[in-house]
Symmetry: C2
Subunit: 436 residues, 2 copies
């Protein structure tokens, strides 16, 4: 089938990520969407600027409207930001019958009501998954995944810059200003950090989340906003003594009197999972009547994480006009004629680390014999723990953690270890998964 | 618009939850789906059994095929389990042109390939969100939310019974058999716990996750399976010393040689978020090329959490044949003519707890004066921390944690506290969110 043609507005961090992800994963994306997705044009400020990603096959122009009016383009991806001229570009794209995908939280939070009503009138899709919490598909989760529920409240760590700064202030007992400068050097905070540290960015995102959670229009102007610029290390330390951690959160709750919409620093009990979300990561905790509590965690910003959400929106658009409408998303994620009959590994062929517990007689040379076997089978030992102070010839417990090795090597080594006359019983072994 | 008619097969725990959630949230569900969703018939083993949920308006029958062949039913929800006669019922439903929603992981893992090919041939939807990880919309997340990514690996705590037992063994240093009996008494483990504790249930779920993550056919027969019935408390304790926690996990990873598919106990570093998922909760950690790492957490079983996923699938089906196909999911989750202009609460009207830090002169009667003000404004104090051992008339730092109160009360109290001549400077205050 013919490729779907995309036009990008803006080729910054997220634009570059979008192009890179679409190219690198083209094969899988086509298997999922049913058609190839191809960027054919992009509007940029400076056509001649050197870029560190491949723009082959993409026509660059500095005239936004050339892309918005391009007759071969079916979907416009807006990655410029702000809610000024970009609003006109998006409305024109819709007038031209083009679907829109945008990562622009300010635009959606402040002008979404107008954009959606235009899109509905025209029968077009507007995707904005990337506008909230970057790579976490939180819009889809609430809008579709939790659609059976009355949502009672949601609370999110939805600004990575604030979370990074507070995490550093907590771990290193340092002042806000000092950590902010470091965050700026690391690229985790903008040169002008106002939007992030004063809570505006989080308020944009909370506006969108509250709207889809409670079925209310977007109400950015009603969000209570407080930033982290006044947080003092002394309060982080006292809170720690009381069992709490300082986080910058967006909270929206349904009450009998109305909807709470607020962004501010708050103390969260340390035992709660969300209190343990550190650094630039985002997480959203949701309390809903049927499902109870659930939490969704992932990177809230960055080039490829945000591109992940942009491209997911593109695939949603393409699936809607590619597949049978009654069957928009393939059952097994990939189109049924695109499943690959890949081999499944036998368990002895996996590679991981292992925890070993054995009983051995406390006699000189025992450890040397055991170590020799592991050495000969190519298994490196990460740590050793010896338990029990048995007298000579009494059994002691030895715990070993191995480094990564193929399971068949381990099995072979253990067969030999178990044959040693100093080793008693079978060796107990458990796989260790670093999961990172 | 006319209601969509549903037929249920099975009215056990999940069936009851589905009916309860559909009734309780009927109004919001209709606003989201665009049409009312109504259960009109259910096949049960015993028609006369007393049930603790409302079956008004639902025709009960003990003949499955009466529901499957019912001319007015558009969607069959299969909640019986197993992969025997239920397979025939599902295939007949599809032959009859009915969409299918099922919570049956055994059926999908072992016969899904046949079911999906029949559904595709007939242009029908088969929803199975509830088959994996109960209330966590993990199928949708992988299939749609992360569709831009090449998934590298996924690891899940996907059996609540195993996780509950291991959590208890860890916290209380108790034996497997003892904790299993307790779990059975609490209803967290079945009378016949084999499927759960030997890893069969987790293997069914992992089969489905791997298939949608990697685009491979369902391969239940290839899963390596190891349960938790041989886990000993001594290894949990040694692992703890080494910085690890014992979890029962399902892991699937793409390697150059093939796909890993394995379910077994494993040690996970304590610092990792997933190691902190306790009790009957489920979580799935995913490593993908664009988004990096993300984690999805929630209840993996239970009546209403599972019903949440069943009903989400129903709403997906109804949205597909209700709304404009190009615009299947409403932008703001609810149909645009169903948004409600609810009031947004002013920040002074919210209720929460507060952390207060103040400087006061160390003089007899100071605490009494402060406490009196809080008492008069109806604010209860949860805990007090006094820092610094100032001599009399020297300032000390006082930290107070309040119980839940309306913010306007707090503001009023603080105005009075700050006027006390023993209190220096402004009182620093931060909202405390218990988030539970």
């Amino acid at each position: 089938m013919e490729a779907v043609n995309i036009g990008l507005l803006g080729l910054g961090t997220v634009g570059g990520g979008t192009i890179t992800v679409l190219k690198r994963n083209m094969e899988e994306i086509s298997r999922r969407a049913g058609r190839e997705i191809r960027v054919i044009a992009a509007a940029v400020r400076d056509v001649d600027k050197k870029r560190d990603f491949d723009t082959d096959g993409i026509v660059l122009t500095d005239r936004i409207m050339d892309v918005v009016n391009h007759p071969d383009i079916q979907v416009i991806v807006e990655l410029i930001g702000g809610d000024g001229e970009v609003f006109d570009a998006v409305m024109t794209a819709l007038d031209n019958g083009k679907h829109v995908v945008t990562a622009n939280k300010a635009l959606i939070a402040s002008k979404g009501n107008a954009i959606f009503s235009k899109a509905s009138e025209k029968g077009l899709m507007v995707g904005f998954e990337s506008a909230v919490a970057g790579g976490i598909p939180i819009i889809k989760l609430i809008r579709e995944g939790l659609s059976a529920n009355q949502i009672e409240w949601l609370a999110g760590i939805i600004n990575g810059t604030c979370n990074f700064i507070l995490s550093q202030m907590t771990e290193k007992q340092r002042e806000f200003g000092e950590v902010l400068r470091e965050a700026q050097e690391l690229g985790y905070a903008e040169a002008d950090p106002t939007f992030d540290v004063q809570g505006v960015d989080a308020a944009h995102k909370l506006t969108i989340l509250a709207s889809i959670a409670f079925g209310i229009p977007l109400r950015f102007e009603s969000v209570y906003m407080q930033g982290i610029d006044n947080v003092e290390p002394v309060d982080i330390a006292f809170a720690d003594e009381l069992g709490y951690r300082m986080k910058h959160v967006g909270i929206s709750r349904r009450t009998d009197d109305g909807i709470e919409l607020r962004v501010h620093p708050a103390l969260i009990p340390k035992r709660s999972l969300i209190a343990n979300v550190s650094g630039v990561m985002n997480a959203i905790l949701i309390q809903a009547d049927a499902v109870g509590q659930s939490m969704f965690y992932g990177p809230g910003a960055g080039s490829e994480p945000t591109a992940s959400a942009v491209v997911a929106d593109l695939i949603d658009v393409v699936r809607a006009f590619t597949t049978d409408p009654q069957n928009r998303v393939p059952h097994l994620a990939f189109q049924s004629d695109s499943l690959i009959d890949a081999p499944i590994l036998d368990i002895v062929d996996i590679e991981t680390c292992y925890y070993l517990r054995m009983k051995a007689v406390n006699r000189p040379g025992v450890m040397a014999a055991i170590s020799a076997i592991f050495g000969e089978t190519g298994i490196s030992i990460d740590s050793i723990l010896q338990k029990g102070h048995g007298r000579e010839d009494e059994p002691v417990t030895i715990i070993l953690l191995t480094q990564n090795t193929r399971e068949k090597n381990l099995v072979r080594a253990l067969e030999r270890v178990e044959k040693l006359d100093t080793v008693r019983d079978k060796v107990v072994w458990i796989r260790v998964e670093q999961l990172s």
